[in-house]
């Protein structure tokens, strides 16, 4: 049906503008009623509806896997979550039960370490870009490098840190894992901090400077403070992104079946443990992997959603 109609007309818009050129009064547009014009109209509205339909369809197709993943995860995960999951460490192979308490704590240790290192550096770099480097070549270069660093695969980060720290120390360690994740956090935080600082109106800074407040104090107490909701959002997003990373931890934190809080020892992490369990052959392991995924995703979703609410309420709108 569509192909028939398509053959009859030529260009879309050019057709309709053509009849306007002659001088005579409004009588001319009557040729909209010719059969050819009508077919053309039909074709155009058909294509329009077709494409609109396709756009809606693709949205549905995109949302579907998300709902499927989430639904299946909740279904599988919730049925295997129990109290022991949060309190016990993994049981030896073949025994039922056990939990991921050490992985949850281990993830906490690595992530706090990463945040401790990554967030200050990221924010400081963002402050430089927005407050000191505006319009400078150097700032543009830093901005660009941050964007590029953001796209470096996490596995590459993993082997780089392995080569630097693990090879030197001759053992895997929680510290190495923390460094790898910290490096991944920096570019994201830098860019969001910069963007948030850009939304702070100049008038506020000028007001502070006009009162004789030194520039560093203006940056901290005025610009950063005004932009803080947005910056916190950025930090949380970077945190959420890094929380689920497995690849950089494979050769740095390495994983651990037992309790360990030492920064110089291999440490368990939730994503790592999920990976090990998911690729293992035992049903019990698979059950724990689902439960672990549910916990991990809850952690991430809750922080992302909190951030959304936070951002919508607090962030400066407009500005300049």
């Amino acid at each position: 049906m569509g192909s028939d109609a398509r053959r009859s007309g030529e260009g879309g818009i050019t057709m309709s503008t053509k009849p306007v050129t002659p001088v005579p009064p409004m009588r001319e547009p009557t040729n909209f009623n010719t059969k050819r014009m009508k077919l053309d109209q039909l074709r155009r509205s058909f294509v329009n509806n077709l494409v609109s339909g396709l756009a809606i369809l693709s949205t549905v197709v995109v949302i579907a896997p998300l709902l499927m993943i989430l639904g299946y995860l909740i279904y599988k995960g919730a049925s295997s979550l129990n109290f022991a999951f949060f309190t016990q460490i993994p049981k030896p192979v073949g025994e039922d039960g056990g939990g991921m308490a050490n992985s949850i704590v281990g993830s906490g240790v690595i992530l706090s370490l990463a945040s401790l290192m990554g967030i200050p550096v990221g924010i400081a770099a963002g402050v430089y870009l927005a407050e000191f480097g505006r319009g400078k070549m150097l700032a543009n270069a830093v901005r660009f490098t941050a964007d590029v660093l953001n796209g470096v695969p996490s596995i590459v980060m993993g082997i780089a840190i392995y080569s630097l720290i693990v090879m030197q120390q001759k053992h895997f360690s929680a510290f190495a894992g923390g460094v790898a994740l910290a490096i991944m956090m920096v570019p994201t935080i830098t860019r969001t901090t910069e963007e948030m600082l850009m939304t702070v109106p100049h008038a506020i800074r000028e007001a502070a400077l006009g009162l004789g407040v030194p520039k560093w104090r203006t940056a901290i107490s005025v610009s950063l403070r005004t932009a803080s909701p947005g910056i916190i959002t950025g930090c949380m997003l970077a945190f959420a992104r890094v929380a689920g990373e497995t690849a950089p931890l494979l050769f740095t934190a390495f994983g651990n079946q037992f309790w360990s809080l030492s920064l110089t020892q291999p440490i368990a992490a939730l994503p790592l443990q999920i990976y090990i369990y998911a690729t293992g052959p035992y049903d019990e392991w698979h059950r724990l992997a689902w439960a672990g995924s549910l916990v991990l995703i809850m952690l991430i979703m809750v922080s992302v959603t909190l951030v959304r609410i936070f951002a919508n309420r607090g962030v400066l709108k407009g500005g300049s």
Binding site: G12, S16, T17, R44, V47, V51, S52, A55, I56, L57, S58, V62, P65, L66, M68, Y72, K76, P120, A124, L138, A141, A146, V148, L149, N150, G151, V152, P153, S154, I155, V156, M157, G158, I159, A160, Y162, S163, M167, V186, T190, G212, V213, P214, K215, W216, R217, A219, G244, T246, A247, L250, F251, F254, P271, I274, Y275, A278, A289, L296, I300
Partner: protein, 361 residues
């Protein structure tokens, strides 16, 4: 250091006549008048005294700026450090195999002969297939969100698509292993053989794991990146463009095609490139479903291997220095390729969203 600065400041301020200071600082005399004459005659304001006791001064400012600059420069340092350490550690394999490393199909840890071609093929094939699936869908979503969607639905749908980006790679992998792989083996695979078997891409045994499964999961993972960037780029097209095309009597699709897509095509290419960068480096989910077999095979059902997944799988059990440095060289190749792809992508996206608003092409 800043302490001395503080004290000199707070001492010098009161000693100076107030009026000269003001004359130097504020050339326009009309500004302070509004506050009334009483303010003007006050001794050094408590605010100023307070502030200067808190470290007003050139040195403090410079120290702060220096600290911020150092942090900013550390980003350079990180990139340079990654590059150097990868080059250093892969020296052994760089020397042993040279450029042949990227054209050789051998991957034999026992005899110490390494070539990366099967992984390059796997990476390119999965990324290309993933883009093939993801780009039309992402464009559809972006068009829907910017042009067709009722305002009420816009926020929740874009939130949902962004949630897709928040799901960790390993969870995608887990889902793929237990849902997508059986689906591929039992229903989707046989269906593809029946309908597209003649193309020759769907031959051989279908175990569910393989290039195609990896591509599908990759497509799901890069969709949110492409669609949200494309959406931003389409939003950057000024409304006057849309109105102009509509005023000529165009249908909505013609408006989108002529007014929106044509204006934002450079940015869209950039967004696709960014998605490609993500796809090239994606590790965990792909490793879990691609089958991990170093062989070049035309069939999409065949198990494969990607650059990232060979590192993830074999790095911790690599024995021997050449083996390890061959794996690090693969990492180096991945690093360089993603940097090039990302650089091009960023330049393209910036050209659209940073510069002047989109213009008539």
């Amino acid at each position: 250091m800043s302490l001395t600065q503080m004290t000199t400041n707070s001492e010098s301020n009161p000693s100076e006549p107030r009026s000269t200071v003001r004359a130097l600082d504020v050339p326009l005399p009309s500004a302070p008048v509004t506050t009334g004459p009483a303010m003007a005659d006050l001794p050094p304001s408590p605010v100023r005294q307070f502030l200067s006791s808190r470290g007003s001064g050139k040195i403090a400012d410079q120290a702060f700026a220096g600290l911020m600059l150092t942090c900013a420069l550390s980003i350079f340092a990180i990139v340079i450090f990654i590059a150097t350490i990868l080059v250093l550690r892969s020296k052994l394999s760089l020397h042993a195999f040279g450029f042949k490393f990227f054209t050789s199909q051998a991957w034999d840890p026992v005899s110490g002969d390494f070539g990366a071609l099967p992984f390059i093929y796997g990476t390119l094939a999965t990324s290309f297939l993933a883009l093939l699936m993801a780009v039309p869908l992402a464009l559809g979503v972006a068009v829907f969100l910017t042009e067709l969607c009722p305002k009420m639905l816009r926020a929740p749908i874009s939130f949902l698509t962004e949630l897709l980006a928040a799901i960790p790679s390993v969870v995608y992998g887990l889902w793929a292993v237990f849902v997508l792989v059986p689906m591929m083996r039992d229903s989707l695979g046989p269906f593809l053989v029946k309908t597209l078997g003649w193309t020759g891409f769907f031959e051989g045994a279908n175990f569910g794991v393989g290039l195609l499964t990896a591509s599908i999961i990759l497509a799901i993972m890069i969709l949110p990146i492409i669609s949200s960037l494309t959406r931003d780029i389409m939003n950057a097209v000024p409304n006057s463009q849309r109105e102009a095309v509509l005023a000529l009597g165009a249908t909505r699709w013609e408006m989108i095609r002529v007014g929106v897509l044509r204006n934002s095509r450079i940015g869209i290419v950039g967004a696709v490139m960014l998605g490609l960068g993500r796809a090239l480096g994606e590790t965990m989910a792909v490793t879990m479903v691609i089958g991990n077999h170093a062989e070049i095979n035309k069939s999409l059902f065949a198990p494969g291997y990607t650059l990232a997944s060979v590192i993830a799988n074999e790095f911790s059990e690599a024995t021997g220095d050449v083996y390890l440095s061959a794996l690090i060289e693969i990492g180096l190749a991945l690093f360089l390729v993603t940097i090039v792809v990302n650089t091009i992508a960023r330049l393209l996206v910036w050209a659209v969203t940073r510069g002047a608003p989109a213009r008539v092409a």
